[in-house]
Amino acid sequence: MHFSLSDEQKMIRDSVNALLAAQSDSAAVRGAMASDSGIDHALWSALSQEMCCCAIAIPEAYGGLGLGQVELAIVEEEIGRHVACVPFHATASLAVNALLLAGSDTQKQRWLPGIAGGDTIATLAGAHFARQHGTGSARWQRDGDGYRLDGHFPLVSHAHIADLIIVAAGSETGTALFAVPAGTAGLSAQKRATMDQTRAQGALTLNAVWLPESARLAQGTADVLENILSRAVIALAAEELGVAEAALQMAVAYTGERRQFGREIASFQAIKHRAADMMLKCELARSAVYYAACVADASNVDDRNSAGALHDAASLAKAYVSEAAFFNAGSAIQLMGGVGFTWEYDAHLYFKRAQSGSALLGSPALHRARIANSLLGAEEFAA
């Protein structure tokens, strides 16, 4: 029983943390979030090309490092801790998991090496659970020896800078996934202004996009999409864990310095107890994230029971950690008092990142409902 990071895993954590501490400080984040692309290109190069972070969960056969969801979570956690402006989750979790779970060998060979090498930014459009409201959608239909896609997604992680967009689309015959390179005719992606400026989003429109047969991912069913989303949810939860941790550290540091009523405000029990609750949430969030990542690494998504365990663990992680991150980021503002809600201090960056993390890939309530359906059966219930 080794439910703690191995030395190699600690090394990954420490080196990513060192990179981000050096290159993604407050000034860098503020620069990136106000930029045209919304990402920090230099940082992205360092992460994806020099440190090969996008290669983590990609098998060696496709140019990757052949590591797993635990290592992916480690990197995500550090990214959250530094509110880094990079398309890591979109590329290394959403798109990579889509290709790994749904792609044919040929499709993997075509796309994964570029991602592993840090040359390809990728994302997934239509990363939504069936019960989510207010999302966009796309439809696919056969068209000659290929497919035609139409639709609109108002919010796709980093769509405006992606080289490759995996699109989940529906039709009467079911869900299918398509690999759509940027520049395909009829595809347009535009950056959207968002409340959380550290997680850039694009609006994606597909207007009579024609794709060849080879663009359709071999295994892109609704069930596989659900498996992809469960993995992506765990990675997002890991990022939120980093947000929750950073918010706690920020609040503890500030209240330890700030004096009021003749005392460090950290000496007030109301402050201490709130910080203690924040720490409790961090620790349980950590247990939840790495538990879920271990379940994902052990899961065989072709086995229904195993997939069920993955979905439960993923929903647990997302629901628990989203709420932990939101609680902690909100508490940091509260404990910091007036300066907590100024633009100048960083607390608002974490707060907004916690909110966007909570809203994406299903709210805590949605994931709780998913668990309830698993435990109690999906039932219509009385109002």
Binding site: T135, L155, A193, Q260, R263, F268, F341, W343, A359
Partner: protein, 396 residues
């Protein structure tokens, strides 16, 4: 006990509603529902004009005594006006610090000459006020005021120091400032309550940019600035500051609640439109929000009841903690009803940071539980004043 207004009060309600309907059009139409919390920095010139127009109709300072230029309106009438003002979409009152805080304080503690000098400008809507209480490093701790007041050779008071979280400082004509008249004093002692003109070189206003990207609050620097008056005697500052807090009986909260109701209505409308209203969690939280707002109004009516006694003072003591927490939760509910779409800002591509009304509610309401006595301070007050529990120990 009843929760109803008298027929005379209802007639007053119709009169107020009619005037507001008739006057919130034309050049003032764009002001409807603007300038509230999180939007206080907008439409300044138009709201200044509106304040004067309101005064011309006799609708400023209605609760003030006639000798001070008011109508001597009853609490019930003030409640009604606040509700109708908000219902009609009356813009955030740019003169509220003068009307609600500075004016009543000057009326209570000022000399006849001071009353004659300051009150008419407030009633007419022409002179705006701001509040100089909080200081950096002493947000909720008024007794830690460090700003100094010294008397120069010809007897004028001079103010030096820094205030912070000052709303409307950049447009106010006057600031009332708590400053230390006795440099050797500590805590509540040796403070004075000064009236300071803002239009002088030795007063500098610097806006503070907030979580919303906008700037409703300011820092104000006094560098040997001249005070035009001292209210009461040197050393009376603490007593006057405390009394001032009592003047705000909370009538304006009824107007605030009307704004809250329009926010809740918008959230319900979106939930019905986008399907969120079919989700169990959202349904329950909308019900909870409605409950919190309904009980908020009942609680406000209780604390403002005409026969208010000890019971109703207890209601007043918990009021801020309730509304601030409720409003903050409403902001989160709004985002959760929107789902992913909560992220989308009005501007296209790389527009400057601009927010929808509900995004602004979500972000700005995080300040509700901090300013005007944070939730922590409120709980201390409730425990100490409401329940007689021991005071917090001060450090050295």
């Amino acid at each position: 006990m009843n929760i109803h207004f008298s027929p005379e009060d209802e007639a007053f309600r119709r009169e107020a509603a009619q005037w507001l309907t008739d006057n919130l059009g034309g050049r003032f139409a764009a002001l409807r529902f603007r300038g509230g919390p999180g939007d206080e920095h907008r439409f300044i010139d138009e709201r200044k004009a509106w304040e004067c127009h309101l005064a011309s109709g006799g609708w400023t300072c209605i609760g003030w005594a006639p000798e001070h230029g008011g109508r001597g309106a009853s609490i019930a009438q003030q409640v009604i006006f606040a509700e109708e003002y908000a219902r009609a979409g009356g813009p955030g009152r740019i003169g509220h610090i003068g009307e609600g805080l500075a004016g009543p304080t000057i009326a209570a503690f000022g000399s006849p000459a001071q009353k004659a000098r300051y009150l008419p400008g407030i009633v007419s809507g022409k002179e705006l006020w701001c509040q100089g209480y909080s200081e950096p490093g002493a947000g909720s701790d008024l007794a830690a005021v460090k700003t100094r007041a010294t008397q120069d050779a010809d007897g004028h008071w001079r103010i030096s120091g820094q205030k912070v979280w000052t709303s409307l400082a950049h447009i106010a004509n006057w600031c009332f400032v708590l400053a230390r008249t006795d440099p050797t004093s500590h805590g509540h002692h040796g403070l004075g309550f000064f009236l300071v003109p803002m239009a002088q070189d030795s007063v500098t206003v610097r806006p503070i940019r907030q979580i919303t990207g906008s700037s409703e609050f300011n820092e104000v620097f006094f560098d040997d600035a001249r005070a035009s008056d001292l209210l009461g005697a040197p050393g009376d500052g603490w007593k006057i500051a405390l009394a001032l807090l009592g003047f705000e009986r909370g009538v304006s909260t009824l107007g605030q609640q009307m704004l809250f109701r329009t926010e809740l209505d918008e959230i319900i409308r979106i939930a019905r439109d986008n399907g969120a209203a079919r989700q169990a969690d959202i349904r329950s939280r909308i019900a909870e929000a409605w409950m919190g707002l309904t009980v908020m109004r009942a609680n406000a009516l209780r604390m403002l009841s005409e026969d208010a006694g000890a019971d109703e003072q207890r209601a007043a003591l918990v009021y801020k903690l309730h509304w601030a927490s409720w409003h903050r939760n409403l902001g989160k509910l709004a985002m959760d009803v929107l789902g992913e779409a909560a992220e989308l800002c009005p501007g296209e591509e790389n527009a400057p940071y601009a927010l929808t009304r509900l995004q602004s509610l979500f972000l700005f309401s995080r300040a509700d539980t901090i300013y005007g006595g944070s939730n922590q301070i409120q709980r201390n007050l409730i425990a100490e004043r409401g329940l007689g529990m021991p005071k917090e120990a001060r450090g050295r």
